[in-house]
């Protein structure tokens, strides 16, 4: 088996990314009642419902840079609809590269390792707001207020991303992603066994 991504693998990743984005949008809208807290942990909520995607991607493709391409495509789509934010791209791609190094070497990566990788990918996404909220708080606040956010909401979001609460949000996102992969495994196990 070639270790490089081929055209078929890229097409497959693109289609799986489309499903991920659709579920991400549905879950973000569905959980908007959680307000700013929901916005901060939205990567974790999306990861909880899409854990099956990483298992499926690994079992069907299982090649290096699959998660990086997946993340680049996600970032590409969000940038195209006006959601581009450079720190978010940097932390997300960094998370995806780490996840690739950890879990993209074969089609038989353990579920535990995939769960860790899915957690890292989504913590990487969450760090796009958590890192600026902790280290560049003023420019982060000004940036999003000028982009249309309400100052009160922005302060609330920053409070969920800073200090101990920020740490708890990060841990929460990781746990949601981790559990999401096991939920995905519960759903996919018999189907993949039947295919094998």
């Amino acid at each position: 088996m070639s270790k490089n991504l081929k055209m078929k693998d890229m097409v497959h990743i693109a289609l799986l990314t489309a499903i991920y984005i659709i579920i991400y949008m549905i879950s973000m809208t569905g959980f908007s009642f959680l307000g700013q807290f929901g916005h901060t942990i939205s990567p974790g909520i999306a990861a909880f419902f899409t854990g099956a995607i990483i298992i499926f991607m690994n079992r069907k493709i299982g090649k290096m840079w699959e998660f990086t391409l997946f993340t680049l495509l996600v970032m590409g789509v969000f940038a195209m609809v006006g959601g581009g934010y450079i720190p978010w791209v940097i932390t997300s791609v960094t998370g995806a590269v780490i996840a690739d190094i950890l879990a993209s070497r074969s089609r038989e990566t353990s579920i535990f390792l995939l769960a860790i990788s899915w957690g890292i990918i989504h913590v990487g996404q969450a760090f796009g707001s958590i890192v600026p909220a902790n280290f560049f708080v003023e420019s982060f606040r000004t940036h999003w207020i000028e982009r249309g956010m309400n100052p009160k909401d922005m302060d609330l979001q920053i409070s969920y991303a800073r200090g101990v609460v920020g740490l708890m949000s990060t841990v929460g996102i990781f746990i949601l992603a981790f559990v999401g992969v096991y939920l995905g495994y519960l759903i996919l196990r018999k189907h993949l066994e039947r295919q094998a």
Binding site: M7, K8, H12, A14
Partner: protein
Amino acid sequence: MRVNPLVAFLFNMILPIGLMFPGNHYQHYFFLSVASIILLITSKLVRLMKFAAAYGIFFGLSILADYYPNYGGQFFLIFIVYSMQFIPCLMMASLLIKDYSAGEIISSLEPLRLPKSFVVSLTILLRYIPTFRREFSYIKEAMRLRNVPYTIRRPVKSFEFFLVPQLFRCAILAEEITSAGLVKGITNPVRRSSYYDMRMGAVDYILCLILILGLVVFIWWR
């Protein structure tokens, strides 16, 4: 009249860059106006009216949410504000999705010399999102025929019925799309030729110039 897909791509790349240099409220109206003009010159009047109606609804909701913050309004304000910001991008995305074939889009992106694999992946992704509803309706129909219902009483099972067919359908689609692409020589390293004449015209250049000038002006005038 049609505009080159590159104009729509450029628009959707420039708008987020513009949003990264905020500070001028006219910026949003500039992009909204340019997107409306593009829909007008491509004779998409009905679509423009639909977007105008959607914008009007979101605008009204944003005022309501601001007036009644204690009734849950603030919770939805981010969603509403974001939706309003995205409308010009969605207007351009509607052109890319509804009015151009995948072949036309790939041909129009050829001069940019982007990695072919990334262009193909992004094009497929953009084309698949709007077909999701149709794919989902096929799955629902198949489930109805087998008398398998979605029910809130069995959430994990219902979620499985929603997700698993989509994933396996993706695997089949990936095979089909790749086969079609291989037949058309998508992996051939030589420069791709095309049936479609996707050269930029005078109007396309003027629109690009307006967009780039607008971006420069709004970066400086903050």
